[in-house]
């Protein structure tokens, strides 16, 4: 058996899912074609897997990974999934078979729970909830809103400032997720930006900024305030932040 390896078209839609496995070619007395074709043929019962050695295919896949062909994780994962399926099928085929195939359980006979069985409970809960909404209790004491000293700024004002910033976010670019800096890195950056006195939140953020940037900056500022390293004030109906003198 000889094996050749070529890269598949990137992001080809295939039978295994969104992305087809790379074009790992299989040449054997009983099958000649790609890994994807072998997968489909075995799945459809058109090829006797017992007559196809899987070791060279695994080696070819390993070579594909090692030689840097695996530029797309999706492709590599699709190939791995196909190989795992083939190995499992082959392993089952190699097991000694019993005389009589056991009759598979009929899924319809199994007591599978479903939301249908909870319908009565849902109705009861709905009615009770409505009845209960007719009763009123003495309001309890207001819980402490924030354990921070915000210097006269209310959490509502902070939330409003955050909401204003979020409304001005640029759309997040459609790029694959990348590793974010840590919040402590973000805090160091925020501290640096707070050196020059009071600044509104919008002036602190890079331009343009995404929702993710805004969330990170806001969290970093809150944490700095909590640690006593930053302070906040209301100036001209806008929240401003500065480094706290220690």
């Amino acid at each position: 058996m000889a094996l050749r390896r070529e890269l598949a078209e990137p992001h080809t839609v295939g039978a295994l899912g969104v992305v087809a496995p790379p074009l790992i070619l299989v040449e054997s007395p009983n099958f000649d074609g790609s890994l994807g074709q072998l997968f489909r043929c075995v799945r459809d019962g058109k090829v006797d897997l017992a007559a196809v050695s899987l070791l060279p295919i695994c080696e070819a896949y390993f070579e594909y990974l090692m030689l840097g062909g695996a530029q797309s994780l999706d492709e590599a994962a699709a190939a791995l999934a196909a190989l795992a399926y083939l190995i499992e099928r082959k392993a089952w085929g190699l097991l000694p078979s019993s005389e009589a195939e056991p009759v598979a359980d009929d899924p319809a006979e199994l007591p599978s729970p479903s939301t249908h069985e909870y319908r009565a409970a849902m109705e009861a809960l709905r009615v009770w909830h409505e009845e209960r909404s007719q009763l009123h209790f003495r309001a309890g004491a207001e819980p402490a809103e924030t354990p921070l000293d915000l210097g006269g700024i209310t959490p509502v004002e902070l939330a409003a400032a955050f909401e204003r910033v979020m409304r001005r976010c640029s759309p997040t670019p459609p790029e694959p997720a990348r590793a974010r800096r840590s919040l402590s890195d973000q805090m160091v950056q925020a501290l640096g930006a707070l050196q020059d006195g009071w600044k509104p939140l919008l002036k602190l953020l890079p331009d343009p900024f995404t929702r993710e940037d805004a969330v990170y900056w806001f969290l970093a500022l809150l944490e700095l305030i909590r640690l006593g390293q930053a302070k906040v004030r209301l100036h001209a109906e806008e929240l401003e932040f500065a480094r706290a003198k220690r």
């Binding site: 729970p113 849902m122 709905r126 009770w128 909830h129 209960r132 009763l135 009123h136 209790f137």
Partner: protein
């Protein structure tokens, strides 16, 4: 000291359900005497006044009578706290099969349920009760006292018995979460 008045005062002062034991300790009576005083108070309030005693979440609490609900709603304009069908569905599953993982709930519903569980946790109707001892140690969820309170129940035993819910599915649920 009028014991019945004292019980009424305690219930008024407390901002949540009050157990008999706590009331008995506060007044300096036995639990039996406190329970009797509570019964008298219940009967007295049923006869007159705008309040009643309700048994909720393992304790007793004073609340307004339902006939005054409209007037109170006009005064306080309470926020609408209705639950959507999907939230109610997830809540019912958690209530009957707790402790459950997100995957358990999804297995029953057949759809992703993490958002619904988060929303219920935000409303303090469910809470994390621990982690399941299986690979990945998924979070287990159960209902809260707030759930009992919001649905007017004293204990989980008050949940209606579902005859259609097969005993086997209960057994499977508890075996999985053990």
């Amino acid at each position: 000291m009028n014991v019945v008045d004292a019980v009424e005062a305690l219930l008024f002062a407390a901002d949540g359900p009050l157990g008999i034991e706590a009331m008995a300790q506060a007044i300096g009576l036995t639990e039996g005497q406190t329970a009797q005083a509570l019964e008298v108070l219940e009967a007295r309030l049923d006869e007159r006044g705008g309040l009643r005693v309700i048994r909720l979440a393992g304790g007793y609490q004073l609340c307004t009578k339902p006939e005054h609900a409209e007037a109170i709603a006009r005064l306080l304009a309470p926020r609408e706290r209705r639950l959507s069908k999907s939230l109610l569905e997830v809540l019912a599953i958690v209530a009957y099969r707790q402790p459950v993982t997100t995957a358990d709930v999804e297995a029953v519903r057949g759809v992703q349920s993490d958002y619904a569980l988060r929303a219920l946790a935000d409303r303090k109707l469910v809470r994390e009760t621990g982690r399941k001892h299986t690979p990945g140690r998924p979070m287990l969820y159960g209902t809260t006292e707030q759930f009992l309170h919001e649905f007017g129940m004293n204990a989980l035993d008050d949940l209606p018995r579902l005859d259609s819910l097969s005993p086997l599915s209960f057994a499977l649920g508890s075996a999985e979460s053990a």
